[in-house]
């Protein structure tokens, strides 16, 4: 007897569609988790060693934190950025243009918004987990654990969600895979440096400090620090709202442009 396909519910986002796309990612992850985990842990370790011991010896403290505390919390944002935006840019492009995976998935009961949403939420979940790696590494180097740090996976996942959608959108607007070099240099690197990860922005001209308010990564860094060292409820609420707004905007852009690319 042939199995019967599950009926569609007509919901805007169907969980069954998400489950299907996640099933694909999960089975691939079973093959690739070693290398992913290795780079997610080794990279922040190198940053912490280099900056912590190199610069940390020269800098007694920043904003009242030791340099390891400052960089350890800041590099959470770096890990989130790398695991979400780059993965989304490259994987989305390759699956859409070279492997034709998306064309194949779109003949199943999954539509473009579910496909992009499922892939972004998968990257967000990964960012939530791997975003904690720098924190754990920093603890080895003297970062004191705190209860607030339990919020870090959620901060990382929320940030990762926005950046995953952003990466998908970038992959849909670039003319070729080589264009990612321009995007990395002109967009991602400034975002990454002007987020208060390795140094505070207080010495920059006011215009740069204002611009930083529009950098989602900046909000992520602030939230992670406050989660680790003490919440600032009013400011933190705004940081969370900024990240939510970013995720919605990026989701809108990604789904709209992906649909243009995938549906004639």
């Amino acid at each position: 007897m042939a199995p019967t396909a599950g009926a569609t519910t007509g919901a805007f986002f169907e969980t069954a569609a998400f489950a299907g796309v996640w099933a694909r990612e999960l089975v691939l992850f079973k093959r690739l988790w070693r290398s992913t985990t290795f780079s997610s842990v080794v990279e922040p370790t190198i940053y912490l060693l280099a900056f912590g011991f190199g610069l940390g010896a020269l800098i007694p403290e920043i904003d009242g934190y030791t340099y390891v505390e400052y960089v350890g919390t800041g590099t959470v944002a770096t890990a989130v950025l790398f695991s979400s935006v780059f993965a989304a840019m490259f994987n989305t492009f390759v699956k859409r243009e070279f492997l034709k995976t998306y064309d194949a998935i779109l003949v199943t009961p999954v539509d473009v918004k579910e496909l992009m949403g499922a892939e972004a939420s998968w990257l967000a979940a990964k960012a939530g987990i791997y975003g904690c790696a720098p924190l754990l590494v920093a603890m080895v180097f003297g970062l004191p654990p705190s209860w607030g740090m339990l919020a870090v996976p959620f901060i990382a996942a929320l940030t990762g969600l926005g950046f995953a959608f952003l990466g998908q959108w970038i992959s849909a607007i670039v003319p070729s895979i080589d264009s990612f070099n321009y995007v990395t240099s002109a967009v991602i690197t400034p975002l990454f440096l002007l987020a208060g990860t390795f140094f505070p922005l207080t010495n920059f001209p006011p215009v740069v400090q204002t611009l930083a308010q529009f950098n989602p990564l900046y909000h992520c860094v602030q939230l992670v620090r406050n989660a680790s060292f003490g919440w600032q409820p009013a400011a933190d609420l705004l940081h969370v709202l900024a990240l939510i707004a970013f995720a919605f905007l990026a989701a809108f852009l990604s789904i709209r442009w992906s649909r243009k690319k995938l549906i004639d």
């Binding site: 099933a23 492997l99 003949v107």
Partner: protein, 304 residues
């Protein structure tokens, strides 16, 4: 008893890409339980037609119904009940056959309790049971194509769309795939298959729709198409170019169609060729009319 409604109905469908008209007023009905071949040269609009049926292209005008559902509006519901074998996809090399099909079982929402059995059944249909746990990168081209067919069948679809299922495969591997598609049709699944191999359409299809410039120019069983357009016999004349030109000139007076066929001229519907003409032209080689004759007559294009 009423006859079941057609699996696919396309009514006056137009699809433009900017100034290019890919599909130009297409009318097509695929009866439930049939295997229909969509035969046409490259650029005839076959792939666009396939994408229109899966909601991956939206028509500029016209209406489409798949399994009784309006498409693209309710394409998702239709897709849950159909299987599609795309032409270009490259499945993930690192996965095993079983893993790949299992992912598709989840995408097609096969209930968890039935998933393992559905995967085994799909592997058996694709004749890949013995390779179930081998990685896809170790499979031959023909096996990969069978995997894609098995994958598309995992949820027991009522309708299968196959886009150029054997393109780029060796002749003996094509035979294997053909028997697989035969089995499908025999099990009651409606099949729409695009191809530009005449032999494939002739061998597999209950009916053939010949497409050219975005529309169906002829439709019928291979036998009906032959009778309607190419008759039963063709006569081929060989010789130097002057001789071929002379044959064409003489036959043109009779109103019978001719086509150049490599080093020969084929006179079609040759059963109606007057003996007086044959006497003038001398000895030709008689052969049975083929679907290729019909195709070339209707599209003006030579095929593989």
């Amino acid at each position: 008893m009423s006859t079941p409604s057609p699996a696919i109905v396309m009514h006056d469908v137009v699809k433009r890409f900017g100034d290019t008209v890919a599909v130009d007023g297409l009318r097509l009905e695929v009866p439930t339980g049939q295997c229909m071949g969509l035969l046409g040269p490259n650029g005839a609009g076959k792939s666009t037609t396939m994408r229109l049926l899966t909601g991956q292209a939206h028509p500029t005008s016209g209406t489409i119904e798949v399994l009784g559902l309006p498409v693209p509006k309710r394409s998702k519901q239709a897709r849950a009940r159909m299987g599609v074998v795309p032409q270009e996809e490259r499945p993930e090399d690192q996965l095993t056959c079983r893993e790949q099909i299992r992912v598709w079982a989840t995408l097609f929402r096969v209930p968890r309790a039935q998933r393992a059995a559905a995967v085994d059944r799909a592997l058996a249909i694709a004749k890949l049971s013995s390779r179930a746990d081998d990685r896809i990168k170790t499979l031959s081209g023909g096996m990969k194509r069978r995997l894609l067919i098995g994958r598309a069948l995992v949820h027991g679809p009522e309708l299968m769309l196959l886009d150029e299922p054997t393109v780029g495969l060796d002749p003996q591997v094509r035979q294997e795939l053909w028997s697989l598609i035969d089995d499908l049709r025999n099990s009651g699944v409606t099949v729409l298959m695009s191809t530009h191999y005449i032999e494939e359409a002739e061998r597999l299809a209950d009916s053939v729709a010949i497409m050219n410039h975005g529309r169906v120019v002829a439709l019928g069983s291979p036998m009906e198409l032959l009778t309607a357009h190419a008759g039963t016999e063709a006569v081929e004349f060989y010789g130097p170019p002057e001789r071929l030109a002379e044959v064409e000139r003489v036959v043109a007076e009779t109103g019978l169609p001719t086509r150049r066929n490599g080093p020969a001229v084929s006179v079609l519907r040759a059963e109606g060729l007057p003996t007086s003409v044959l006497d003038r032209l001398g000895q030709g080689t008689r052969r049975a009319a083929t679907l290729e004759d019909v195709f070339v007559l209707l599209t003006g294009e030579d095929l593989e």
